[in-house]
């Protein structure tokens, strides 16, 4: 019996492995190149032809990795937490109230998705300056939050509307609970799956974004990881030290991988929470 099932699922496994291998192959190139010495630029397709930690060491020190890591962590966590809080809150009325105004808000937020940030960076900087926001790190954080609002509100609104019926709150209404309590104590905890989705999707792009930090932060001590990495890119005078850049990329992505692996459980747990009770 088991033989049969194994054999039947084998081609599926192989097929998936094939696709995932293609998916990963380009990254394997980066991985193997990161173990080469800094100036070794011969064909990167000779995988694993050399093994040294020289590039990693160079990346680590030149980027001031620990400091940059702390900056990335701080900025990403603050931004993501803020996004979750204010967007969940904002989506609540939009999902619950059925009026022209709420429809307008929905589209209003969503339409922000269609403008790429490069187009409006100059007006954004002028606005920031006009508001005299002094902390250099706060500015990209504000932009991270702002740019996450469209997609996150989209997710939250859809979820609350479809998966959190009003009846759930009714018991609280009977108890005389105020709006805030209704939201935070009853609705919000039910939003775990979509919160996880928001954290994963927004967290990744915020962590990897170099554009906003580049525009707003000039002190090297305050650089988050991607900005610290940017220094390794080449131009016409100095060749890009690709091996160091790859090592830097891998170092930058490692925390994300760890967190993603960890959050996966929440994701699945969130999906199955109802199942157990239901």
């Amino acid at each position: 019996m088991t033989d049969n099932r194994f054999l039947r699922s084998l081609p599926r496994h192989l097929f998936i492995i094939a696709i995932l291998a293609i998916n990963l192959l380009p990254l394997v190139i980066a991985f193997s190149s990161s173990f080469r010495s800094i100036r070794n630029m011969t064909n990167p397709l000779n995988l694993f032809s050399e093994f040294t930690l020289e590039s990693y060491k160079a990346a680590f020190t030149r980027m001031q990795f620990p400091a940059a890591l702390m900056n990335s962590l701080m900025m990403t966590v603050v931004a993501v937490v803020a996004v979750v809080l204010i967007t969940a809150m904002a989506s609540y009325p939009i999902a619950r109230i059925d009026s022209k105004f709420s429809k307008f808000l929905y589209i209003f937020f969503l339409s922000g998705l269609v403008i790429p940030s490069q187009m409006i960076i100059i007006p954004i900087v002028k606005t920031m300056q006009g508001l005299d926001i002094t902390s250099a790190q706060l500015r990209p954080i504000i932009m991270f939050i702002t740019c996450s609002i469209p997609f996150s509100s989209f997710l939250y609104t859809g979820f609350i509307k479809n998966s959190v019926p009003v009846e759930v709150e009714e018991s609280a209404v009977i108890d005389g609970a105020g709006l805030l309590r209704r939201f935070w104590q009853i609705v919000f905890p039910l939003l775990i799956p979509v919160t996880t989705a928001v954290v994963i999707t927004q967290g990744v792009w915020i962590w990897n974004d170099f554009f906003y930090p580049m525009v707003f932060i000039s002190k090297q001590d305050e650089f988050p990881l991607p900005l610290a990495m940017l220094g390794f890119l080449g131009d016409q005078t100095n060749p890009t030290a690709w091996n160091v850049l790859f090592a830097a990329s891998i170092l930058t992505s490692l925390p994300l991988l760890v967190i993603f692996g960890f959050l996966q459980k929440f994701f699945i747990a969130g999906l199955t929470v109802g199942a157990v009770k239901g």
Binding site: S9, R12, H13, F15, I16, I19, L20, N23, P26, L27, I29, A30, P44, L45, T87, M89, A90, Y92, P93, R96, I97, L105, F109, S111, G112, V114, I115, P116, Q118, M119, I120, P123, I124, K126, T127, M128, I142, I145, T146, C147, I149, L179, F183, T201, V204, N208, F210, P226, M229, L230, L233, W242, L245, T252, S253, L257, G261, Q264, F267, L271
Partner: protein, 288 residues
């Protein structure tokens, strides 16, 4: 529901209006000036910028390129991810691992991804060229990024590759919440695998499909990083999407006003297309 509920939206609304909407309006304001990005004084020029972008063909070429990009990108990403999601959904033990692996490309910065892929596409000693030569064909004549007709597709494939992870994850989530009872009911009615998929799974996936399709359309229309990093809009202008052209006009040619006009045009196009798509999809969702 009390109207005071609207206060909940205040923080988001405030942030969003000040730091996103207001700059956009300012941008529209620039589109009728001759601002070059540097000067402190500039003049009102009416619709000159708009006339010019249509006159010299830049609007036409970038719109066409962008539409092709969006179409191919959205199609490929969704088809491949849907297939992959179905595969991964078939109760295989290692799904969690596979899912993590599928997500990894999404974690890397476009700069690194762009560079690696330019080695994949490089003629002669590049990855694909080498594989081709194993099969006896000439690796040197393999030219994607340098070829007018194929460069765009080469760039799109990189974007697709990067997005498969996130799209598949969303589809998987949708698939995994389809209740077993419905599928079992279908089996009792004598449906085979294909019919189960067509009549049960797909309709229930409607929302996931809407999200993914909408997202990929919007991302396709906004495409910038890969054409910019891998081919800088070239060869010639064959991979110059709208945002690439806007960027070049604003920062290389120092014609910020003209770039703003192009931005207004692209904004209109993106909004219209997205709205159309969302309405159609919503109708389908309701019926499903």
């Amino acid at each position: 529901m009390k109207k005071t509920l609207y206060w909940f939206a205040l923080p988001a609304l405030l942030l969003y209006s000040v730091f996103w909407i207001y700059p956009i309006l300012t941008l529209f304001g620039y589109s009728v000036t001759d601002y070059n990005g540097l000067v402190k004084q500039y003049n009102f020029v009416g619709l000159d910028n708009f006339r010019q972008i249509f006159d010299d063909g830049i609007a036409a070429s970038s719109i066409t390129t962008t539409l092709i990009y969006m179409f191919v990108f959205a199609l490929c990403t969704n088809l491949i991810s849907l297939g992959l999601a179905f595969l991964l959904n078939m109760k295989i033990r290692a799904t969690g691992i596979y899912r993590t692996i599928a997500y990894i490309p999404a974690l890397f910065s476009p700069i690194v991804v762009g560079y690696i892929w330019s080695y994949v596409f490089m003629p002669g000693s590049g990855l694909i060229a080498t594989v081709i030569s194993w099969f006896g064909m000439d690796g040197n004549s393999f030219n994607v990024l340098g070829n007018y007709n194929y460069a765009l597709y080469g760039v799109i494939s990189v974007d697709v590759w990067k997005h498969i992870g996130t799209t598949t994850v969303i589809f998987l989530a949708g698939l995994q919440t389809i209740p077993k009872e419905l599928l079992e009911a279908g089996e009792i009615d004598g449906a085979n695998a294909w019919q189960k998929t067509r009549y049960i799974r797909l309709p229930l996936l409607a929302t996931s499909i809407t999200i993914n399709l909408t997202l990929s359309v919007i991302n396709g229309l906004k495409a910038f990083e890969y054409p910019f990093i891998m081919t800088n809009g070239g060869p010639g202008r064959s991979t110059s999407t709208l945002v690439v052209d806007i960027f070049r006009t604003a920062f290389t040619e120092m014609q910020y006003g003209k770039a703003a006009a192009l931005a207004v045009v692209s904004f209109v196009i993106i909004i219209v297309l997205t709205a159309l798509l969302v309405f159609r999809l919503n109708k389908k969702e309701v019926s499903a």
